[in-house]
């Protein structure tokens, strides 16, 4: 497989791929499970707004929660059935904390709601974006950012290049690979649609050179189109959007800018396939391909309805081979341990790895940092991980921020190369969330200060007003003559009334 011209970014690592484990079998469809648990927050941004209540009958593809605000995404019923409860359930998140979920009991008829393909070539842009807000499509590469936000065009900076991210750089994960092999047409169609919607002149697919079958399939599907398929070397983390842009075009995205500021938009292959299915077939986002691999009997890829309990997925893969039953969501570099095997499959779940002592030996004891700076050599975003480690470890958070902690993409290259086995990324995650929490409480304190100052000012003002009123009253009391005048007028009027009444009686 011929490598195209590329621009190598700094650092990166080449961990053992372990991809062939799960690419031996075609995509299998998981049977409809006994219940589906759909978290209301499966995307970045605002939690989706409920549109159903317990007891409601829903059809496959029916919207059950709508996007709340612009950075939010809708959720659809993955099959027909009945909403049985809306409750707090454990979700696949490193915290292991519960969040609001809709539980659906399927009726196993799998009845579709009327599918309405969208005539995207005929309707105008605002209508198209409106339609996309209802699609529930989010970035399926793992970032789960609502797709309709990425399809907006800004007048200031038109999009010139659409990059389709087919790198899938993390070990073990093969869901994009298998999708490209089997559904290359959908991806290419989706890419063309997206390119047209964005008005991009060019569309480039970036794929790592370890996915030969996928490359061939894409090449075949893209034969009569202007889409360029470019092969980049297998180098983790080439799948990070900004790294991929650099690999393909040699353009470095400044840390305070987004790639769209440079006229480049990036979509994952699975996302453009979902866009195709939504526009051309009228199917909203209700399922995805999930890799189940590691210590399971038959590692493979499944097309899974969102909300399917993880335990069903494990059973479908022949069951687990270990007693510990520890599962990692995502890849070994950036993934996290799942809190339970009852968590549902969500839009972000691209891969589940069953951990075993052979695959992932217990972490070696940590030794002190010797400042060898291997982490700095490996860092793909050109940070100084050894400094960040120092500041994070000693909770010098402001210093860590100064050293651009928030540019860290948490790819784990630094931890991977560290000869002292220091869990560097864990320190960065700790420091980041601590800084975010501090900023929030600072903001809350500022609001409290403002509210307190406003209250004090109000009390002061009211006091002054009351004093003025009293002063005015006192002034009125002094003005006796005026009052006597008033009294005599009133008395005169009373007199007149009396006279009138007497006259009336006489008459």
């Amino acid at each position: 497989m011929q490598l195209n011209n590329f621009f190598k970014f700094n650092g990166g690592v080449q961990p053992e791929e372990n991809k062939t484990l799960s690419t031996g079998l075609p995509i299998a469809r998981l049977p409809i499970p006994k219940k589906l648990i759909l978290p209301l927050r499966q995307h970045v941004g605002q939690v989706a707004k409920l549109k159903v209540k317990p007891g409601d009958q829903v059809l496959k593809g029916q919207m059950i929660a709508e996007a709340d605000g612009s950075v939010s995404a809708a959720i659809h019923a993955p099959t027909s059935g009945k909403v049985i409860k809306i409750s707090q359930e454990i979700i696949p998140h490193p915290s292991g904390l519960p969040d609001f979920c809709i539980t659906i009991e399927p009726d196993f008829k799998d009845t579709w709601i009327e599918k309405k393909p969208i005539l995207w070539k005929k309707i105008d842009r605002t209508q198209l974006i409106e339609a996309f807000i209802k699609s529930g499509i989010v970035g399926l590469g793992g970032a789960v950012f609502p797709a309709h936000m990425k399809l907006r065009i800004r007048q200031t900076q038109p999009i010139s290049t659409l990059v389709i991210n087919a790198a899938e750089c993390e070990p073990f994960i093969t869901c994009d690979d298998i999708l490209m092999r089997e559904r290359a047409d959908e991806i290419i169609q989706g890419a063309l649609i997206t390119q047209t919607i964005l008005g991009a002149k060019k569309c480039v697919v970036g794929i790592e050179n370890n996915k030969i079958e996928a490359y061939e399939a894409l090449k075949k599907a893209a034969q009569e189109t202007s889409i360029e398929i470019r092969v980049v070397p297998t180098l983790y983390p080439s799948g990070d959007a900004k790294r991929l842009i650099y690999l393909l075009m040699g353009i470095e995205t400044p840390n305070d800018k987004r790639s769209t500021d440079l006229g480049i938009q990036v979509f994952n292959v699975a996302t453009v396939a979902a866009i195709y299915r939504y526009l051309e077939l009228g199917e909203p986002s209700i399922s995805r391909i999930v890799t189940i691999t590691g210590a399971v009997k038959t590692p493979q890829n499944f097309e899974v309805l969102f909300g399917t309990p993880l335990s069903d997925l494990i059973d479908a893969a022949g069951g687990s081979l270990t007693k510990q039953k520890k599962f990692i969501m995502g890849g070994p570099m950036m993934g996290f341990d799942l809190p339970s095997i009852d968590v549902p499959v969500t839009k972000a779940m691209n891969c589940v790895i069953e951990s075993s002592p052979e695959l992932f030996p217990a972490p070696k004891p940590v030794m002190p940092c010797i400042r060898c700076a291997r982490c700095a050599d490996a860092c793909p975003v050109n940070l100084q991980p050894q400094e960040l480690y120092w500041f994070s470890k000693s909770s010098q958070l402001e210093k860590a921020r100064e050293y651009n902690l928030f540019d860290c993409i948490e790819c784990g290259c630094c931890s991977y190369v560290c000869p002292s086995n220091i869990p560097l990324v864990q320190f960065y995650r700790y420091a980041k969330s601590e800084i975010i929490a501090q900023d929030k409480s600072k903001e809350a304190a500022n609001t409290a200060r403002e509210r307190n100052e406003f209250r004090l000012a109000r009390i002061e003002r009211e006091k002054k007003e009351r004093a003025e009123r009293h002063a005015q009253k006192a002034l009125g009391a002094q003005d006796k003559e005026g009052q006597d005048e008033k009294k005599s007028t009133i008395a005169a009027a009373m007199e007149r009334v009396k006279q009138n009444q007497q006259e009336n009686i006489k008459n």
């Binding site: 915290s95 904390l97 969040d99 004891p365 940590v366 030794m367 869990p423 601590e434 929490a437 809350a444």
Partner: protein, 185 residues
């Protein structure tokens, strides 16, 4: 001799004018030190320090009348930050003023509330909503957990509920791991 004198007088007048103008033009309102201290204080406005709010306490610290360790909501961390700012020795929180409690918000038992408005008058940040003989409620997002609404309530229907960690406020914990035992000599 005369020239030198004239030059000096001219310079004195010129510089005097510049300084006088700057004194008026760039005058700083209030004590900048107070604002800097106030920025560190947690703004709960609870008065546990012995002053009627965070700003009065900040003013007292700036004047040297109050110590830096009288703020229970700020805790040791707050005292440390103040010590750093003031250039004085760090002192742990003075327990006489209270202990640092987990962040909480007030909750009104709406069934018991008689609508007396006493808590509304006590709230330093206007976080209680209600009217005479109407049920009151706490705007949880604005409540600082200062506890000032507790004593005036005649029916004791207000409690302070600690804020539980949820999915949004969850934080990654400080990493804990095994370290390599040094080889014995």
């Amino acid at each position: 001799m005369i020239t030198a004198l004239l030059v000096m007088i001219f310079l004195a007048i010129l510089l005097g004018l510049v300084l006088g103008y700057s004194a008026v033009k760039f005058k700083v309102d209030g004590d900048p030190m107070v604002a800097r201290i106030d920025a560190i204080l947690p703004q709960t406005q609870c008065g546990q320090c012995g002053y009627p709010g965070c700003k009065p306490y900040a003013t007292a610290i700036a004047k040297g009348e109050a110590d830096i360790n009288q703020c229970p909501p700020g805790g040791d961390a707050g005292a440390k930050a103040l010590a750093e700012l003031m250039g004085v020795e760090f002192k742990p929180l003075n327990q006489e003023h209270g202990i640092q409690k987990p962040k909480s918000v007030a909750l009104i038992d709406e069934a018991t509330c008689i609508g007396c408005t006493l808590c509304i008058q006590a709230c330093p940040v206007d976080a209680i909503l209600g009217a005479a003989k109407q049920m009151h409620t706490v705007i949880a997002s604005e409540c600082t957990g200062c506890e000032l609404c507790l004593p005036p309530c005649p029916v004791d229907c207000i409690t302070l509920e600690p804020i539980h960690e949820n999915f949004i406020s969850w934080k990654w914990k400080y990493p804990i791991y095994n370290i390599q035992k040094a080889q014995e000599a």
